[in-house]
């Protein structure tokens, strides 16, 4: 059974990584009504920003902050310069999905000539091994888990106890009503893109740190796991995304131990299909995928 205990340890790390990515993705969707298919590409771009800083001899933990800042600024600009104008123009939901897919494609191919085709990895010592029974994790992985838990608590506190968080929830529930109540929805949405962008950037760096090596194409895999967790939990629901991340993280790692690591994303996809057939609205959402677009 020790292989499954080890897989459980990896599962803990995996779910931590997925949670950060999925919460960012689902908040973007829930509050700004934008399915941002370029999310995976912004993640991998941030991972590369951290890579170049790390290669200059700086520790990856500083690179991680740089990745988060890059993710925040980039996502903010992406919304201001591309998504928001299209939305203002009255582009439909589906049109916006196509726009974000086009952005994703452009981003990947703008990066390709810059970062090259070869896979890279961070130069960071993984830290000492920590054993808890059969579970073996590195110090770095423990740091990732703690970071993720802290971020989740932070998001919870933000949404529950701050004025900004309440304004975000109000904007998500009904933007017009929120604006009529005096909430500056435009500024709230800007803040959402900055915060979720930072989560996206962080998620990219820790996902890259947690995998042996990464290439531009890893972005699609990042997007799929984040999507699976977000949809599983009920799109637009941050707490749902956290639960989704726990489930997807555990299932993918356990299946990798029992079967083959090449099929991790396939298993995540299998979970996604099951959810879409059995409970399309996700675990937590009341309407979610079932409601009419718009």
């Amino acid at each position: 059974m020790s292989i499954f205990a080890a897989a459980f340890g990896f599962g803990l790390v995996s779910m931590s990584v997925i949670a950060v990515a999925a919460v960012g993705f689902t908040m973007q969707f829930g509050i700004t009504n934008m399915i941002n298919l370029a999310y995976g590409q912004v993640m991998i771009s941030s991972a590369y920003v951290a890579y170049y800083i790390n290669r200059a001899g700086v520790t990856i933990w500083v690179g991680m902050i740089a990745g988060a800042v890059f993710g925040a600024v980039f996502s903010f600009l992406l919304n201001r310069l591309v998504y928001a104008p299209f939305q203002r123009k009255g582009t439909s939901h589906i049109g916006m999905v196509i726009v974000s897919l086009a952005v994703s494609l452009m981003l990947a191919n703008l990066l390709l000539p810059i970062v090259g085709y070869f896979s890279v990895s961070y130069q960071e010592h993984a830290g000492n091994l920590v054993r808890l029974g059969d579970i073996v994790v590195t110090n770095n992985q423990i740091a990732i888990i703690l970071l993720s838990v802290a971020l989740m608590l932070g998001i919870h506190a933000l949404l529950r106890y701050t004025r900004l968080g309440k304004a975000m929830r109000a904007t998500a529930a009904n933007p017009t009503l929120a604006r009529n109540c005096g909430i500056p929805t435009q500024r709230v949405i800007d803040m959402v893109w900055l915060i979720t962008g930072a989560l996206c950037g962080l998620a990219g760096v820790i996902a890259a740190l947690n995998s042996d090596s990464f290439v531009i194409a890893s972005g699609a895999g990042f997007l799929i796991t984040a999507l699976a967790a977000a949809v599983l939990g009920g799109a637009g629901q941050p707490y749902g995304a956290m639960i989704g991340a726990v489930i997807i993280g555990l299932i993918t790692e356990l299946s990798a131990a029992a079967w083959s690591p090449e099929y991790k994303e396939v298993v995540a996809f299998g979970v996604l299909v099951l959810v879409m057939v059995l409970r399309p609205q996700g675990l937590l959402a009341k309407r979610g995928a079932l409601a009419a677009a718009g």
Binding site: L37, P85, I94, V97, I98, L105, N109, L110, V231, P280
Partner: protein, 331 residues
């Protein structure tokens, strides 16, 4: 420009026209955002390949593994390719098209496309994994010498016949009362449902028809290329077809044909010329080609969302529908 290159260009144009016409039936006319379109083309190509190839135990084929290998004579592989695309559409459609909201459908299909590619890539015994299938027999190769110019003309003629058939079918669907129902569903699904139309049945039908046509396009392509591998059907290939349709004009068959000639064919040709003229490092140009395709999509959605040849609107003067149509018409 030698004969082989010209033939290559014409056959690609034919395949792209067939594919974009099929995508037009799904996305342009019925509003199904089929981001896994290329998977159906791939299914057709693989089906045509295993139907026409000898078993993988045959002398020259032992370097690859795949199921089947039936050595069936021409038209059967092409018909089989179309069937494979249509049949594959049934399970995918049943999962995706029944309950989900339209933007979720789009995401689910995109993810399906990425995962299908991963699975075929890793599961080697099924269709030879990442290396793909090679030495796929060409149509009629046991009766005609395939290394002659006249075989190229024959292949162009066969492709042209298929283009004609698909265009005829697409025109019949678009201009029929059934096509009108599809457009009604695309514009206002709830209203169409209220009038007694069944949107799930309509979408499933167009998903299967489009899947079958996509499968046929794959069969034509693999018969000409004689190789087929997962790297030839990555999900961005679907985006090129979407770009073609958005540029050409959604909902308009002529627009779809125009888009197929402008975007996939035109871009291939421009890229080839640029590489030949040594403008910039060779691996940067294909990457920039994708960027340009993205810009094309954004540019057209911004400045001319209806495309070069817009869909003809049949709206009666003074009808209250006019305003509604204008509101929902922008995507």
């Amino acid at each position: 420009m030698n004969t082989y290159y010209a033939a290559n260009l014409l056959i690609y144009a034919g395949v792209d026209i067939i594919a974009v016409l099929a995508l037009n039936l799904q996305f342009g006319v019925s509003g199904i955002v089929n981001f896994s379109f290329i998977v159906f083309q791939a299914a057709g190509a693989y089906a045509a390949a295993v139907l026409s190839m000898p078993p993988h135990t045959a002398a020259d084929y032992s370097f690859q593994v795949y199921f089947g290998g039936y050595q069936l004579p021409f038209p059967i592989p092409w018909i089989g390719g179309a069937l494979a695309g249509g049949v594959l559409a049934i399970p995918v459609g049943l999962v995706v098209l029944r309950k989900l909201r339209s933007d979720y459908q789009a995401i689910a299909l995109l993810v399906t496309s990425i995962i299908a590619n991963t699975v075929i890539n890793n599961a080697r015994p099924f269709l030879n994994g990442a290396a793909g299938l090679a030495l796929v027999p060409q149509p009629l190769q046991d009766q005609v010498d395939t290394n002659t110019d006249s075989y190229l003309y024959l292949y162009i003629a066969l492709t042209a016949v298929c283009v004609g058939l698909v265009w005829f079918l697409a025109a019949r669907i678009v201009n029929s009362p059934y096509g009108r129902t599809l457009r009604a569903m695309r514009e206002h699904e709830l209203a169409a449902t209220a009038l007694g139309k069944n949107p799930v049945a309509l979408k499933m039908t167009m998903f299967m028809v489009g899947g079958a046509i996509a499968g046929l396009s794959g069969a034509i392509l693999v018969g000409f290329l004689t190789v087929w591998a997962p790297s030839t059907w990555l999900y961005p290939e679907t985006i090129i077809l979407f770009a073609a349709l958005i540029v050409g004009g959604r909902g308009n068959n002529l627009g779809a044909i125009l888009g197929a000639l402008l975007v996939p064919v035109g871009f291939e040709e421009v890229t080839r010329q640029l590489i030949r003229m040594n403008v910039g490092p060779p691996n940067v140009i294909p990457a920039l080609e994708w960027v340009a395709i993205g810009l094309f999509i954004l540019g057209f959605l911004w400045f001319r969302p209806e495309g070069v040849r817009p869909e003809p609107r049949h709206v009666f003067e003074g009808s209250p529908e006019t305003e509604l149509v204008e509101n929902v018409g922008t995507a």
